[in-house]
Each structure stands twice: as structure tokens, then as C-alpha cells.
Homo-oligomer: 345 residues x 2
């Protein structure tokens, strides 16, 4: 269909090597440069990256595997990462695995067949074995949000436990003594971490601890709403609640709305993740924020460094023969709203 380098060669009377050299920024005699550029324009030549990829064994493509595209937290990360990667010439192939481990496995295979150069993964499944074929092939992986035992790759983490602990500490400092939590699924790493942070704060401050003060919301809107109702029924005297992700925060607010609970007079609330939602709420919600832009930046940068730095994915061993991978842990932020009421102590 389109013109190839061969056509350019024929048209200019030059050899393939010269054209290739020109295309890759090599030295070409001025006279020939002009001729080549003319031919390219005339024949509408455009490099075929597929052929290039086959030859060089580098597709300049990164696979991204994530639990849910339709989720502000992940969408923000992808947006940032895709931008940076593309500005370095890398395409991104995104696979949404709908929080399903089997789909995640399929996505890895799918991307492996397409010979992506590396992977950015926000893991869903528990098993590291799925990813081993990339490691074996010397292709780097960057994991976001979770560290996996048994797999040698760079990780970009967020201090989820610390964030949750800090949020609950704020409630405690405001005088709250009966604080509930809407927690995520038990099999999701970040959910467990956030719950641990809550429990740590509760225990350290010797505040009322009670199983019925933790309701599981499954990281969904519906789950958040149901959890809020349960929490309120079991603990009518609860004065504050910490909600540990965005979707559940939306659900909880729906329920609070339905139950005609006044925030913060009857119930103080601290949420998670989405500043826009928090600011639009009545009253504005106080929330924990995650540094999505930095996460994206770190993930993309790390991967590119692996890909273009001196160390290839599998060669990165230090002197003891151990793999040398980096783990970056980022701090969360906190946006103050008007959803926490200071209590008389």
C-alpha cells in the first residue's frame, strides 16, 4: 500500500543503508539528504514500526494492566503514564481486567504475544507466577500499589497504612471516640493496608474497638452504601466514619443522604481519593489524596530507565548476584474540608 524504504532507495538512486541511516539520525551527505526528503514527501513514505520492531526486537510498546479503567484513581495514573511514555516514543496497550485474576492472566499472555517491551501492572491477582515469562525474557515490569513476593521488579507504592492511620488520628484529635470504617475487600492489598492503619490508630489511642465498627464495602458504590447502613444500625452512637476509597465514599454519601444524616453535625466523615467529588459535596469532604501524577511519573520513568539505561531487566544484579530493584514509596496528601466536627472532650 504505502511506500517503503525500497521505493525511496529506487527513487533516489541511493542504497537502503543510506535511507535507514537518514531515518535514524545518522550522517548523510547534504545533497542526498535533500533528495531523500524530497522522495519521502513525494511518495508519502512513513516508517513501518512493525517491521522495525520485528528487526530490532523492540516494539516501543508498553503494556498496562489494571483492575478497572473506569475508576478515577487508575484513569489518572494511566493518563499520566501514557503521556510520558508517548513523548518518549512508546505506545501503550491497555488491558482492563475487571478486577479478575483470570482476565489478568490472559492480559499478560496477550501482551506477551504482542511483544511489548515492558509492563506496568496494577495487580489484581495474588500470583506472581503469571508474570514470570516477562522476567525470563528480560522484560522489565513496574508494579504499582503492591509489592509481590517472588517477582523481581520495581515497585511504586503509596503509604496506604500511614494515610489511613493519619486520617483516623485526625478524627481522634477532634475528640471522636467511636469511629467506624468502611473497608475494602479483604483480598485487595491496599484495602488491607488501609484497614491496618485504622486499627493501629484505634489501638494506639485506646479508642473504642469493635468488630461492628468495621464494615466491608467491596470498593463499590453499592457496597459503600450498604456498609454505611450497617455501620449506622449497629452503632447509632458512632460519631465519625473513615471511608477508604472513592467508590465507597460515593455510596456512603448516597446512604447518608437517604438517612437524612447531617454531616458533620451528626456524623463526621473522612473519605479517599477524589478531590473533585470532595469539593463538590455538601459540606466539602475532608479526604486522603493519592499522588496519582507522581505515581504515573515514577512508573513511566522507572520503566524507561530500565529499557534505555545500561541495565536490562534481567541483568540488574548487584555484586551479590541479587536482583537490584527499586521500591519507591510515596506519601499521600490530605485535603481539609468541613466534614469533621470538633467534639467537646
Amino acid at each position: 500500500m504505502g511506500a517503503t524504504m525500497k521505493d525511496i532507495a529506487k527513487c533516489t538512486g541511493l542504497g537502503l543503508a543510506t535511507i535507514s541511516s537518514y531515518l535514524n539520525g545518522g550522517n548523510v551527505r547534504e545533497k542526498n539528504r535533500v533528495k531523500i526528503e524530497e522522495a519521502i514527501r513525494e511518495l508519502h513514505f512513513e516508517v513501518n514500526e512493525v517491521a522495525r520492531g520485528l528487526k530490532t526486537n523492540r516494539t516501543k510498546t508498553i503494556g498496562i494492566i489494571l483492575p478497572e479503567l473506569n475508576n478515577i484513581f487508575f484513569a489518572e495514573i494511566i493518563t499520566g503514564a501514557e503521556d510520558i511514555l508517548r513523548s518518549h516514543g512508546y505506545a501503550t496497550m491497555i488491558c482492563d481486567c475487571r478486577s479478575d485474576a483470570e482476565r489478568e492472566r490472559e492480559a499478560v499472555d496477550f501482551l506477551y504475544h504482542r511483544r511489548v517491551d515492558g509492563l506496568i501492572v496494577m495487580p489484581t491477582g495474588a500470583s506472581d507466577s503469571v508474570f514470570q515469562k516477562f522476567i525470563r525474557a528480560g522484560k522489565p515490569i513496574v508494579m504499582i500499589d503492591r509489592k509481590m513476593k517472588g517477582i523481581s521488579c520495581d515497585c511504586i507504592l503509596v503509604d496506604n497504612q500511614g494515610a489511613a492511620e493519619d486520617a483516623v488520628n485526625r478524627l481522634i484529635r477532634s475528640g471522636h471516640k467511636k469511629i467506624g470504617m468502611i473497608a475494602g475487600p479483604d483480598d485487595v492489598y491496599t484495602a488491607r493496608e488501609r484497614q491496618r492503619g485504622y486499627q493501629k490508630a484505634i489501638q494506639n489511642n485506646k479508642i473504642i474497638s469493635n468488630d461492628s465498627l468495621i464494615a466491608r464495602g467491596n470498593y463499590t458504590i453499592a457496597g459503600g452504601a450498604a456498609a454505611m447502613r450497617k455501620l449506622r444500625e449497629a452503632n447509632p452512637d458512632m460519631t465519625a466514619v473513615f471511608i477508604s476509597n472513592y467508590e465507597m465514599m460515593v455510596g456512603a454519601m448516597m446512604e447518608i443522604n437517604d438517612l437524612n444524616i447531617r454531616v458533620p453535625d451528626e456524623l463526621s466523615v473522612i473519605g479517599f481519593d477524589n478531590v473533585d467529588f470532595a469539593k463538590a459535596s455538601v459540606p466539602k469532604l475532608s479526604i486522603v489524596t493519592q499522588p496519582t501524577a507522581r505515581i504515573a511519573q515514577e512508573a513511566a520513568d522507572t520503566l524507561i530507565k530500565r529499557l534505555e539505561g545500561s541495565l536490562s531487566g534481567s541483568d540488574c544484579r548487584d555484586m551479590d548476584g541479587e536482583k537490584t530493584t527499586a521500591t519507591v514509596t510515596l506519601k499521600t496528601g490530605f485535603v481539609e474540608g468541613r466534614s469533621v466536627k470538633p467534639l467537646k472532650q
Copy 2:
């Protein structure tokens, strides 16, 4: 690195054609099938789709160009489309062009170099010329949300004008006579359509029409907030407002919150797009919804049909030599909330 078909051939003593035939679902003698499968397992062979793509001139990859990934409306469409495409063996390369025409042009080139088989575009720029190289190459394009003069491709549209008109008619039927609108940017097709719908309803019902009743919110949160303030200042007696996209709805609600305006007692509101947000609001917002899942389905199906049906992208002409492309226009929905107050007439 990994094993190739040649290795399998050597290992089994068979020819390349047999291996290829096996891999592509052709007929292979039972005995050989077993041998091949054994070799594949032993050597960890996995098809190289890059090589396959070079040979067949079909990469089984679709490019998706959109204004903003970080936007629920688009994210939902991508989620749906990616799912369907992947289940048909197609990868998706996503390019977020940040609502910038120049970036959009770059994305088209980028994807063309990578030889994607087709394009799904939610256009940002005004020019169709950018896309012509795909049409020339016989590669199909599906446009979402906007029809472009001068480009021959399938379109999936939503009746934006009708949706807006219907929303405003509801306000009018509830007795409202002074209705404001927060409109999107003038250079965005859907924004103009929605504004046209508003004006049509106003004119048809001979309701108060006034330039200061339309404020432009630029499809952003901040813009929505500013527009809300302006609207309120210029029209203190306005009893209802129609907000024509999600981000502006969030911004407007923030402002309404700041101004201590009670919804719907002092001001009735109809919003757009995000059911989750609408339901979590206090009170629940009435909104126009777009059928994102259907849009995604139609877009993916249409593209796959072009790619695998008998008609190639450029061959689809009817008897007059005209290109035969399909345009599907989908209906919007409406979710009733408690944000519209019936007025005594």
C-alpha cells in the same frame, strides 16, 4: 530469546507450513498435532504477533483517540470498547490528546506508523484532513460524538440536541420560566448541539430568553463554578439551571454549595452524564444520561465488521460509486432525582 516456529519445526522434524497450519487452526495429522503441542510446551513457544503482523499486513490493533481519558464519559466508552475488541483478538492503543488538536494530529501519525488496522476517534480538532491517510490506506475509522464533513467513515452519535431540549422542556413543564444554562465551549460540537437544544425549548415555549441566561463553562469544573456564579449574579430570580456536562455539574454544585443556595427550593437543577455523582448528591440530581455501553458496543462492532466483513474500508461504495457508511444515532436517557421543584403556575 524465545523459541520460534523454526525451532518447533526442527524439534518435530516437520515443515514450517505444518506448524503454521496448526497454529492457524488448519488440518494437521493427529500424530503431528501431538508432537507439535509437545514441542510447544517444551520450548515455551509463543507466537510472535509482530512478525505475523508484518507478513499479513494486519496488526490486529485498533487505535483509539480521545480528548481526555480522565473523564468518566470517555473512560466508560473505552472500557467497553477495549473489552469487546480484545475478545475479538484486537489490542487497543489509546492516545489521550488532552483536547488539543495538534496532539490529535500527532496521535494519528503515531498510530499510522504503528500500522493499526483501524481507528476509533472521539474528535477534538475540526479538520478532517488529518485522518485522510487512514482512509487512503483503506483503513476504517469510526467516529464517536461528531460527524465530519469530508471524511467517509461510520459514526456513532448521540442525540445531544434532543436530550438538552427534553431536559429543558421538563423544567418548563414544572412551571419554570427563567431557566439558565451552563454551556460548553463553542468549538466543541456536542456543546453547540446541547445549547441548540436548550434554545429550541426556550423558543418553542416562548419562555424568557436572554443572553445572560447562558454562561459558558468550558466543560471544566472551575468553569462550571464560575459560570454558576455569573449566572446567579446576572439573574438572581432564575429558578432553574441546566448544566450540560459532568465536570461543569461538579463545579456548579461546588458553587451552589458555597453560595448556600438550597436545591431545589431556591434553584432547580438538571445535570448531565454521571449517574453515580447524581445519586450521591444532596438532593439527588436529575440528569441526562448517555448510553456509554451502547456507544462502545456500536463502535467496536462497526469497526470489526468493516475489518472482517466483506467490505474493506475503502471498498464500501454503493452502486453510485458513493461510499456507503453507516451513522447510528443513539437516544439518551433521563434519571429522575429530587433536584427539580414543581412551581405553582
